[in-house]
Homo-oligomer: 349 residues x 2
């Protein structure tokens, strides 16, 4: 996607260098972080310089390829084994990460050149999947549509295009008029910070709203559809996504508004039969109690936004049952998981 | 209610002085603002040193009484007429304010002493109504209940006890175990700031949650009931309250959890037949785009929490239809507006 008129990917590799948009500085500052070895790339994954399922997968694959390029002949195998473990330790719960590391590791047994090509292929596949999701999702969007999205499942979370926002980009590129309501997405504010930044760069009309405003807009007929991403999809179509997704799905159902989830099929986790098998991560209460951002002078400040004597409860995700989801937009097509068996359908598509 | 062990009201009058808890400094600092004349009291209403339906009504009545005490004999009527107009101009949409001013103004025609007594009566009536709401609401609360509330309809918004929180205080005083989930209530954060502050002072177990977390807690059986306040109730029971209330009501209905509104009968507006007649105020987008609070050194900072290129849409209230409300807890009793005609019921009670 374009930033100030120049085409960028969220992350890419040229020679031995991995480049990534520094997401710790967004939306206040746009800068590219460069990593010349796998250890630096690992640190960038760990400190969230790059984040989001697809982007982390690509970063992990690139890091493994960097290790093959740097491994000294005298203790090649030890170096590679160390690197593989170090990369896997960066974000222990990121599924895409393990998949990418293993793929590049196995291919690297043939040659370093094969490892590099495999890492690039992972990134290209991420882009192709995102584009396919955009193409299928675009068919659901009428010109003039007002689309509500929660959190950030845009191109910053993947290598390019993204999932929930990819249909919006495709529709916009096809000349359709689209307007996006971007939920702030407290506590971390990915909607107000990253989704709004993406949409602003793509010149797509949008407005940030507090997480409290969605149902009211739906009641007034100001929302035509909801599209969100997914962190994990159970075998029956129940979907774990950023906290607050469930509430929008319930409100959408109440008002008869279509609610779509956009995600590559790799998000389906066969180990989870239903949403009840998905464990909800509880995060640091400080994310609710404090906010960070620049003051009028551009100095980044951390302030308390809650009463000093109180604490907070901070679940990171919630589970939206398949019955509330109108369809899951995948790279293979759109699946109605409420009606059909998700896995059978995915296999048929 | 008690603050650090000392009993306080939100606002009170002694002699010619009106005292009020300075709500612009809460929750960071507890201080009492003193006003010795009606003009200072007017400024305090205008700049929200005191806020909330009941507290504003009491402040307006006290201001009118202050004017009677200060009015010079030589141009008594002009002075009183000026004061009446100045008070009414402070918060043009506050219904309680007009009611209180008129009552004290009319009574003051008898004597200044009568005006003072009338102003005190208005404040006492506010407290009596809040206590009655607490008593009726308490009957709905079982020991061990987890209660979710949105925004601040506690004693800070009234003269004492409040509406949505009054049943909680009554239940707690009766020895019941209660736990409160306090919605942050973006954009202005009244839940995280004022409700949490109140509950902390009352030593009632509670936790602040992001506005995104309510439905997820309901899905896990962690919410037994929802109680909110009301800014205005239409004749059919449709209720306008802080933005985000509608979403909680829809989620509560979805999970079969009772959803109550607590408000004095004076909140019912006969001019509004249904919620469709209630105009929704749109406020400054900056409330969504910026946050204010103290940094680690206690210096109050204003920071941006949204992408610089984007703007926000900021509706202040939403309307919850009577069909989603299990009951309206009033000072006269609990009304089931979904089943019965609200006005008939109120008249019978």
């Amino acid at each position: 996607m374009k930033v100030n008129g120049t085409e960028y990917r969220t992350i890419w590799m040229e020679g031995k260098s991995v480049y990534m948009i520094d997401q710790n500085h967004l939306p206040w500052e746009f800068s590219i972080f460069r990593s010349d070895d796998y250890r630096t790339t690992c640190r960038a994954i760990k400190d969230m310089t790059t984040r989001g399922a697809g982007a982390i997968g690509a970063a992990a694959g690139f890091a493994m390829a960097q290790a093959f390029m740097d491994a000294p002949a005298q203790n090649f195998e030890e170096y590679i084994a160390d690197a593989r473990q170090t990369i896997m330790d960066t974000r222990p719960t990121a599924r895409n990460l393990f998949y990418a590391v293993e793929l590049v590791y196995e291919t690297g047994k043939q040659s370093t050149d094969a490892a590099i090509k495999q890492a690039q292929r992972i990134a290209e596949k991420d882009i192709a999947d995102s584009r396919a999701i955009g193409s299928f999702g675009n068919e659901l969007i009428n010109s003039g549509a007002n689309i509500l999205t929660h959190c950030n499942a845009g191109w910053l979370a993947f290598v390019d295009y993204g999932t929930a926002l990819s249909p919006v980009y495709t529709a916009h590129a096809a000349g359709k008029e689209v307007f996006v309501w971007a939920d702030e997405t407290r506590p971390r504010g990915q909607g107000a910070r990253l989704t709004a930044w993406e949409l602003n760069n793509a010149a797509i009309p949008h407005s940030i709203i507090a997480d409290t405003a969605g149902a009211s807009l739906m009641a007034q007929g100001k929302v035509d559809m909801v599209i969100t991403g997914a962190d994990r999809i159970a075998g029956n179509g129940d979907t774990a996504n950023k906290i607050g997704t469930l509430e929008k799905a319930i409100a959408a159902k109440h008002f008869g508004i279509p609610f779509y989830v956009a995600a590559p099929t790799s998000t389906v986790d066969l180990a989870c039969k239903t949403g009840a098998d998905i464990v909800i991560e509880e995060r640091n209460p400080d994310e609710v109690l404090y906010q960070t951002g620049p003051d009028a002078q551009g100095v980044i400040r951390k302030i308390r936004v809650a009463s000093p004597g109180s604490t907070a409860f901070n679940p990171a995700f919630d589970v939206t049952p398949a019955s509330l989801i109108s369809g899951i937009i995948t790279e293979k097509g759109i699946v109605d998981s409420a009606k059909d068996n998700l896995l059978d359908l995915l296999n048929r598509l």
